[in-house]
């Protein structure tokens, strides 16, 4: 029993161990890595992935998946960018309008996914794979693959902060806090966990399963848009590859954070840990000077590790469930 306890402890806290190991490794390789500036930078970079990973957590909790977040980021940033091309809107109000336009785009994008999944009943990975490709197609067709420049007021928004905390981190904190409250303190949130565990039982228990499934994809779409419009405010120029492949980072972050691909388990906090880890590895590889061709392979290996751990954890839980005998 103690051995299996230990194994479970390891599985449960694997991310923390990996986190420490990776941190120490890069630190030893490049001592500058331990610097306050470097760490602050990692947290800032992690916040974009993290915000979207929070949205992904909602989807994963229902045992779904959203592969289209990268294209969603692109389209949302593009919508904000087009609004800001209007000279009359190149001011504070314009920034607000642009943000609203970007976020609405993300919500619509998420709603399209949700519609195909909930109403047409098509498998989530296929729907979002199709919208991943089609979404970027729509975007590049509209921009004709030209870049979009963002005016100074928007860049100022990107560089702003609250009490000295950079804007992206503030946004991330707000999103995580809101998600945490929704997931743990509202009926809607608790019902998401129920749906992910057993959708059929949820339906019979009187939970509006379709409505909940629909909502999580919209929430994920919104989070992708938040990530898109904030990240682009830092970069200042939208090019064709903005957001490409981000679905990998986001899913990795969520799963490393303890959210299961099999549904019903996960927290908003997990996204913080997971995204920091992903970003730390990415920044660390640049710090240490890993061959750029090798970097995606390292990331792939980390995703692999994440899903492997998740699967082992899930299989273990299932076994425990099956073994439960009638207690005295």
């Amino acid at each position: 029993m103690t051995r299996s306890r230990l194994a479970e402890l390891l599985l449960r806290n694997m991310t923390v161990f990996i986190f420490l190991a990776v941190f120490l490794y890069f630190g030893v390789q490049a001592p500058r890595f331990f610097g306050v500036e470097s760490i602050a930078n990692i947290v800032k970079q992690a916040s974009f992935i993290g915000v979207i990973a929070v949205g992904m957590t909602f989807v994963l909790l229902t045992a779904g998946i959203d592969l289209s977040v990268g294209s969603n980021m692109y389209l949302s940033a593009m919508a904000a960018g087009y609004v800001l091309q209007n000279p009359a809107l190149q001011n504070g109000w314009g920034v607000l309008v642009a943000l609203l336009a970007g976020l609405s785009t993300g919500i619509v994008f998420g709603a399209i996914n949700a519609f195909c999944i909930v109403v047409l009943r098509i498998t989530p990975f296929l729907v979002t794979l199709a919208t991943l490709v089609a979404g970027r197609g729509v975007g590049t067709a509209i921009t004709e693959s030209f870049g979009i420049e963002y005016p100074p007021p928007y860049l100022a928004f990107g560089a702003s902060g609250l009490f000295g905390i950079p804007m992206p981190i503030v946004v991330f904190a707000v999103v995580v806090l809101a998600a945490h409250i929704v997931l743990s303190r509202t009926q809607f949130g608790r019902q998401i966990y129920a749906v992910g565990r057993d959708p059929e039982a949820a339906r019979k228990a009187g939970i509006a399963v379709d409505r909940i499934t629909f909502s999580v994809y919209v929430i994920c779409g919104l989070c992708a848009a938040i990530g898109g419009v904030t990240l682009i405010a830092l970069i200042g120029r939208l090019n064709q590859t903005f957001g490409v492949g981000k679905e990998f980072d986001v899913i990795t972050a969520a799963v490393l954070g303890g959210t299961s691909l099999f549904g019903g388990a996960g927290t908003a906090w997990g996204a913080v840990v997971g995204s920091s880890l992903v970003q730390m590895v990415q920044s660390g590889m640049i710090f240490v000077g890993v061959n750029i061709y090798l970097q995606p392979m390292v990331l792939a290996a980390i995703i692999f590790l994440a899903i492997l751990i998740d699967s082992l954890r899930n299989g273990r839980l299932e076994k425990l469930r099956r073994r439960r005998l009638r207690p005295d």
Binding site: T186, A194, A202, G206
Partner: protein, 503 residues
């Protein structure tokens, strides 16, 4: 008398073009318990699923307290005061007891957030009402089947429902839990709630019900006050004919050769120290409560799970690591308790289902198959077992009745030519007539020299069929009974443990 309660008027429903309910009219009155009986497939569950909002009727309507009632889903039904406690529980193991009870009606505080204190308090009150001494924060995954059943009941209490439907609620309960449940139903009744109680256990109906309604083949054949329905009449109405015997006569066919022997078989947390032996021509009954480890033992014997220690000797050969393929090669067959999930390929033809366990034997040296030969050979097994179906090479398994599906599963195993049969709840969910056919098939098997391990939670069934009964409790064989020592009371006592039976 009319007016109050639920009036079901002329309800009809078809699945796949087959009528499951025809013109059923029924009154469910407040302050009374209606016992709803009928064979499996008679339409009880479909009828109650319509009342509970899970299924929409094709025709007919319902009145709830004289107002039109037609719930689009379970939630609408609950809002109208109709609670349905399903046989398979709708609980979420990853949530706490309190969250499960209030999953659609969490008490909310000012900001719309869950008021956890109120949630806990109300859950505690409800748990006290069902006499369950647990913290409301306990995760449901830590509960026993019986405790889960009671949580499900407290969920219905929470709704303050005017109509509560129980679908086979006692299958996973200990006697003490059952009496608790009955006391609770009593209280509901005196509080003016209408209760619908579906059960196969006619004794329970006799204890509880004020009224009885009998369904057969989707039609209401009789309804009235309980005293008019002695058990014998209920049975006759359910079957539609007089039946003199439920089981074929017992005749021992036991021979000396041992087919299967287990010694000290253990898997931590599942079973421990299992000793058993099965001889040719023997029916070895395996009885125990849900969760006592019966199915788990069968899975170990068949190699679906690996045992950690102990020995297994099959047909004289020692097996250290069993796998399903080795089991089949050693001429074993496993008819699982769950046809739909583990027995059949629902969308595939009957013939292909029957051939599945014999594929390797059917292929030639190159692994090539002759489809026509397979269909022909499947057909002989299907007709030997009297599977009632259309063309077996095109008709999918899902279109068959439960009894015929079970026969297809048996035919599949017969085709592989086994001599050791593990039957796990072989008659669950099939009607009485088909049950009798299954019993006869089992008798034929042992007469021909096969050995059968017969797992069942219906004690009468095991007692009627078995030559010997092993009783399992908490993963161990609690005791063994030779046929001449069969006694319902002592077998049950062994299954529940002395303490339970004393209570």
């Amino acid at each position: 008398m009319s007016g109050a309660g639920l009036s079901i008027r002329g309800i009809g429903k078809s699945f796949f073009g087959v009528p499951v309910l025809t013109d059923v009219s029924l009154e469910i009155r407040p302050g009374r318990v209606l016992g709803l009986v009928g064979q499996n497939g008679a339409g009880k569950s479909t009828l109650m699923n319509i009342v509970g909002g899970n299924t929409a009727p094709d025709s007919g309507d319902m009145l709830l307290d004289d107002k039109a009632y037609g719930p689009a889903n379970a939630r609408e039904a609950e809002r109208s005061g109709v609670a349905f406690i399903h046989q398979e529980l709708n609980l979420f193991a990853n949530l706490s007891i309190a969250e499960n009870i209030f999953i659609t009606a969490m008490p909310r505080g000012p900001a719309g957030l869950i008021d956890r204190n109120r949630l806990r308090r109300r859950a505690t009150d409800l748990l006290r009402e069902v006499d369950l001494d647990l913290s409301p924060d306990t995760l449901v995954e830590q509960l026993s089947p019986g405790e889960r059943q009671l949580v499900e009941v407290s969920k219905a209490l929470q709704l303050d429902a005017r109509i509560v439907i129980f679908d086979e609620p006692t299958t996973s309960l200990t006697p003490r839990e059952t009496s608790r449940l009955f006391a609770l139903i009593d209280r509901l009744r005196s509080g003016g709630t209408a209760v619908v109680y579906i059960s196969h256990i006619l004794a329970d109906i006799e204890t509880l019900a004020d009224d009885v309604a009998v369904l057969r083949d989707g039609k209401l054949v009789a309804a009235g006050p309980r005293p008019d329905f002695p058990a014998s009449r209920m049975i006759n109405l359910m079957l539609g004919r007089d039946i003199d015997q439920l089981y074929p006569p017992h005749r021992s066919a036991v021979r000396d050769e041992v087919l299967l022997e287990a010694e000290g078989l253990s898997l931590p947390g599942v079973v421990k120290g299992i000793d058993l032996s099965l001889r040719q021509g023997e029916i070895l009954g395996l009885f125990g409560l849900m969760g006592s480890g019966r199915t788990e033992l069968a899975r170990l014997l068949f190699g679906l799970d690996r045992f950690h220690s102990g020995e297994l000797v099959v047909q004289g050969e020692r097996v250290t690591r069993m796998t399903p393929r080795r089991a089949i090669a050693a001429r074993m067959a496993f008819i699982t308790e769950n046809r739909r999930e583990e027995g059949l390929m629902m969308n595939v033809s009957i013939a292909e289902n029957i051939a599945l366990a014999s594929l390797r034997a059917l292929g030639n040296a190159l692994g090539l198959l002759d489809k026509r030969a397979i269909t022909a050979s499947a057909a002989t097994f299907a007709s030997a077992l009297q599977v009632r179906s259309g063309p077996i090479d095109t008709q999918p398994a899902r279109s068959l009745s439960g009894g015929n599906q079970q026969k297809v599963v048996i035919a599949k195993w017969l085709m592989s030519g086994p001599s050791i049969f593990l039957l796990d709840e072989p008659t669950r969910g099939i009607d009485v007539a088909a049950k009798y056919e299954i019993y006869s098939i089992v008798k034929d098997l042992v007469a021909a020299g096969s050995g059968v391990i017969f797992i069942s939670s219906e004690i009468e069934e095991v007692m009627a069929m078995a030559d010997r009964i092993l009783v399992m409790r908490q993963g161990e064989i609690a005791s063994a009974f030779a046929r001449e020592r069969f006694s319902k009371a002592s077998i049950l006592r062994a299954a529940f443990g002395e303490k339970e039976a004393a209570a």
